[in-house]
Symmetry: C2
Subunit: 352 residues, 2 copies
């Protein structure tokens, strides 16, 4: 099978980790029958500075004819800059990548094993970015719309249910696991936002009440309490489904549990396309030193393959990464080691 993969390194360490992801894909055993074509694409702050556009139309259109992609990271200004808007947020919408899937997992040998997936709605909530500002006698006031639809909530909950079932299937095949059965935890703040988060809650629960999810246990947690529980008993969670912004916050929180954002992958998933994206940012502080951790990107490449139905190839990559981490010999500075990006990559490549 031939797969065309768009590569968008973006800014900062994005340029160091995306090439590592590419080399892992290229190094997959020929027996898997996969052939990759890579297309280099631009987006981000540097692109904006050069061209005045953060997400060139060409990047969007080329991706539309790709099977998948890898997105590095972009540096966003914290103040509003005229004409600049986050390219990853825009891409998620333009390509209808309705789910953001973020597995957070320790290696099997960890003292406190954690194995969860955060399934984040990826197109709406406050990310619709409909804002306005007006003047009042007491100063400026700004408003943003938080939009939650029954449709998107239903779709994301169904995705969470599917992922819970898929994880259960892998467990049933004998893989060691800390979980007994499939569990989906619906996260919201419907005690305050009874209509918006209330809709997320009822639509999610309705979707998960479908007979195909009859083996999946469904629970719910108010988002503040979810963050509390995430830190008190992370081992209890299997699949967590959340609206966009809570999902953003929860996945960074979960990443803290496994030691470094440099380990945590994500995939932005649409009906027929998946975009792998490390959860870390462009990290300008360590850029250019060759010490960024390539694992989040390498795992994101595997996650992308999973959603392109190449589970065998994905499993090979995960196993190579886990072996690297379990041995603990080539470990990058974010995890307390001294290995360079290239050394971590070489160690993973030789295990493929």
């Amino acid at each position: 099978r031939a797969l065309t993969i768009g590569l968008i390194p973006g800014d900062g360490i994005g340029k160091e980790v995306i090439p590592a992801g590419r080399r892992v894909l290229e190094a997959l055993p020929a027996s898997l029958g996969l052939k990759f074509d890579f297309v280099d694409l631009n987006a981000g702050w540097e692109t904006f500075e050069k061209t005045g556009v953060a997400l060139p139309e060409e990047t969007v259109q080329t991706l539309q004819s790709c099977n998948g992609g890898l997105f590095g990271a972009v540096s966003s200004p914290t103040t509003a800059v005229k004409g600049y808007s986050s390219p990853i947020v825009a891409l998620r919408k333009r390509l209808a990548l309705y789910a953001n899937v973020r597995p957070v997992k320790t290696v099997a040998t960890a003292k406190k094993p954690i194995d969860m997936v955060i399934v984040r709605e990826n197109t709406e909530d406050l990310y619709v970015k409909e804002e306005k500002t007006y003047d009042t006698p007491e100063g400026k006031v700004a408003e943003a719309i938080k939009r939650i639809s029954e449709k998107a909530s239903t779709n994301i909950a169904a995705m969470a249910g599917e992922i819970a079932l898929r994880r259960q299937k892998i467990r049933a095949s004998g893989a060691p696991s800390i979980h007994q059965g499939p569990l989906v935890t619906v996260t919201h703040k419907s005690n305050v936002l009874s209509q918006t988060d209330g809709l997320f809650r009822t639509a999610s629960k309705a979707a998960l009440a479908d007979p195909r999810f009859s083996s999946v246990k469904v629970e719910e947690q108010i988002v503040d309490s979810m963050v509390y529980k995430l830190f008190r008993q992370p081992e209890a969670y299997d699949v967590i489904v959340a609206p966009n912004l809570y999902g953003d916050i929860l996945s960074d929180g979960a990443a803290a549990l496994v030691g470094s954002l440099g380990l945590v992958p994500s995939a932005n998933v649409g009906k027929t396309f998946a975009l792998g994206e490390p959860c870390h940012g462009s990290a300008p502080d360590i850029q250019g030193q060759g010490i960024s951790n390539p694992i989040a990107t390498i795992r994101s490449a595997a996650l992308m393959l999973e959603f392109l139905d190449e589970e065998e190839a994905a499993a090979k990559i995960y196993a190579a990464v886990d072996a690297n981490l379990e041995e603990g010999k080539f470990v990058s500075p974010d995890l307390g080691g001294t290995a360079k990006t290239e050394e971590v990559l070489q160690d993973i490549l030789r295990r493929l």
Copy 2:
């Protein structure tokens, strides 16, 4: 000085912890010259079931003539119930309690000392609860308004600055501390919400640029990264200021760091009134067993006194609680002990 204090136990364990808070206030040494009058007031789910109103007008009006109050916890339904609306959210608005102050601190003997205060804006953001729902061909859609004003952002940041200075003054008086100097971290998501969170950011930074805060270091963190850092290096944070919803989430997250929500107090603060409120909920699962931890409420009573300018009385209560925790003999089940509410209370009372 005579202080009139309104007591609103609410539901569940609220009814067990508020009396404990009252008894601590009553037991303060006469030398402090404080005389308390207590007024019992109703609010919450039980009140709603009996009367059809969750926050009786009488409660609001009586509080308006009190100096301070203690609010326990209320049980909210997670589904919208016609006519029901969270009484604490309403109270914060009705009494213009613009700041929610949540100190999170380990005892001096803790292995990993943490000593931070989360200063949460308490009246706006998504808590304006302006929501609507409409039908579309693809199903229901709901929208909520997130409103951020320059005025509220300025006020809350100034409060954060004042608190940072006050903490520094206590340190300068020789109290042991993990912090070098006063630091305020402004939390927002202005990389996505450039107008609303952008306004929070610029107004906060402008307020903290006032010469009276010249000794205060000001930093900023995007909210997702703030949650990550909160768990990776909590000792680094002194005062964190945030819009309402992020503050809600961050304070529960911070509470997880100190072992139990049962330890974490808060105060809802207005210009001339302070309402102490434990951060925990009504905990129906342990209600009636006499095992709830009264410390969050006792500390909330002290925090209320601080904002009523009775710092000496507050310090007495804090010291008694710290001594109880440091000895670790009368410890409630949420902290791994077996002591009853009454035993923890007695131990604290005898140390006053």
